[in-house]
């Protein structure tokens, strides 16, 4: 399969990239890891006139954990690099649990976290993680930088709120509550490695003593976009993570799921999976034990 014909530019600076996008007047696309965009081009679901490859902007290939715990991920940081980052797995359990479950290992060599947020696939993983962590995207355009919370960034299936001449240069996960211990997990049901999520849940819990100082819960694969389980978060905040609280939060989270019945399962089944995942991750946090890949482990921040 060949993509439709396009003009290709690989600028050396961000300013040049933005200029090209501006010139493109909405008919240009940014190419980063390409693990979603190239398939879309090949299937001709997308046929931009201009492709702006940002892979030469090597300054964007970073992730950083700042002194206060803020995590910054540049637009060229690949999934595989995040998966192998020891500092990240020590500091951020939700991201650490999700990274090895993104697509498959070969795709992870190339694809990027920021690109995944921009692609805004309703079955994508990172948008759920970033939503649970209260993350935001830094967009750079002709007028400078702005921050867009992930909950406002992803607006629908494959839709984000970037202007046509903006580059998403960074994803940021804000620092945890001072003095809190950060817990979290990410679980995804997939029929085989690399398939889209049948259902998935990303959770972050910050505990001060035995009280929940902050809860973040988001769902993937069970709606037309990433779903933010705000009511479930509110119900947990300020309380103790006991069996009753966990059951109530799982009910609320499953309640906002809007799955459709398809070859991956019935709507009822997917809602049930959401309930199970939310309850399983929270139970693990409340009663830590030896972890398995994709399951949360107790981590100090």
């Amino acid at each position: 399969m060949y993509p439709a014909r396009f003009r290709y530019e690989a600028p050396r600076t961000l300013e040049e990239a933005i200029e090209l996008l501006h010139e493109g007047q909405g008919e240009a696309k940014v190419l980063a890891g390409g693990q979603s965009l190239v398939p879309l081009l090949k299937l001709r679901f997308a046929a931009p006139e201009l492709l702006v490859d940002i892979n030469n902007l090597t300054d964007l290939g970073y992730h950083r954990i700042e002194a206060d715990g803020t995590i910054r991920v540049g637009a060229l940081r690949r999934h595989g690099e995040l998966e192998r980052a020891a500092d990240l797995s020590a500091a951020q359990p939700t991201m650490a649990a999700a990274a090895p479950l993104i697509a498959d290992p070969v795709v992870r060599s190339r694809g990027t976290l920021v690109g995944s947020l921009c692609h805004a696939d309703p079955q994508g993983d990172w948008a759920a993680v970033a939503t649970a962590l209260g993350g935001y995207v830094v967009a750079h355009g002709p007028k400078g930088r702005r921050q867009i919370p992930v909950t406002e960034f992803v607006t629908g299936p494959f839709q984000n709120t970037l202007a046509y001449d903006e580059v998403a240069v960074e994803a940021v996960m804000p620092p945890p509550t001072q003095g809190a211990v950060v817990h979290g997990g990410f679980l995804k049901l997939e029929r085989r490695v690399g398939d889209f999520a049948t259902a998935g849940a990303a959770i972050s819990i910050e505990l001060v003593g035995d009280r929940v100082a902050r809860a973040g819960i988001a769902l993937t694969g069970v709606g037309s976009r990433t779903l933010h389980a705000a009511e479930a978060e509110e119900a947990l905040t300020g309380g103790v993570l006991d069996g009753r609280a966990i059951e109530h939060a799982a009910d609320l989270a499953a309640g906002i799921a809007e799955p459709s019945s398809d070859h991956r399962g019935s709507a009822d089944y997917k809602r049930h999976v959401v309930h199970t995942f939310v309850s399983r991750i929270l139970t693990r946090i409340a009663q830590p034990g030896p972890g398995r890949p994709g399951e949360p482990e107790r981590t100090a921040a």
């Binding site: 396009f6 190239v38 892979n55 595989g80 498959d104 290992p105 070969v106 490695v193």
Partner: protein
């Protein structure tokens, strides 16, 4: 110099062409290509390196896996123009003219293939794994190969072949 540009010309409209230089299996190759040409197609049709297979052409199967600057990638999901100035290793680049690589030898010893279609991608992905982790567990081998699909073997002998190659590389086989 290789030109793929005639093969994919469909209309009279102006065709953008780029000259790229890519180090493929240690050798610098230059080609004039359309930016929409996929790396897998440049390798197979332009450079006649047909060891790299295209299976699904939709980023699922991993038969087209090659090393890009040492990392395994799906060459059907990268534009050839993106490889300009980079290093690509295909399955043909794993062996020297005299000797099979340990991974290739492992596939022979442990009968790690049946139809052979997925084999180049499997070998390249396994080579990348062993470069990073010379002593993987069976689980780690299965995890590392989970982006490469095989419809014949049930994976059993592929996993054995990679474990054999790991032992050989460590001087234990």
């Amino acid at each position: 110099m290789t030109s793929l540009f005639e093969e994919i010309t469909e209309t009279d409209e102006e065709v953008p062409v780029r000259r790229v230089t890519i180090t493929v299996n240690g050798r610098k190759r230059t080609a004039d290509i359309e930016p929409r040409l996929l790396l897998a197609h440049l390798l197979r049709q332009g450079l006649k390196l047909t060891g790299t297979h295209t299976g699904c052409d939709t980023t699922n199967c991993g038969a087209c896996t090659v090393l890009f600057d040492g990392q395994p990638i799906k060459s059907c999901t990268m534009l050839a123009v993106q490889a300009d100035g980079h290093e690509v290793t295909t399955v043909e680049g794993l062996a020297s003219s005299e000797q099979l690589s340990p991974v290739q030898e492992g596939f022979k010893e442990e009968h790690g293939l049946q139809c052979g279609f997925c084999t180049p991608g499997m070998m390249v992905a396994a080579t990348a794994l062993l470069a990073e982790n010379p002593d993987p567990t069976e689980d780690e081998v299965r995890f590392a190969l989970s982006g490469n699909l095989c419809r014949c073997t049930g994976y059993q002998n592929i996993v054995k072949a990679v474990l054999w190659a790991a032992r050989r590389t460590r001087g234990e086989a």
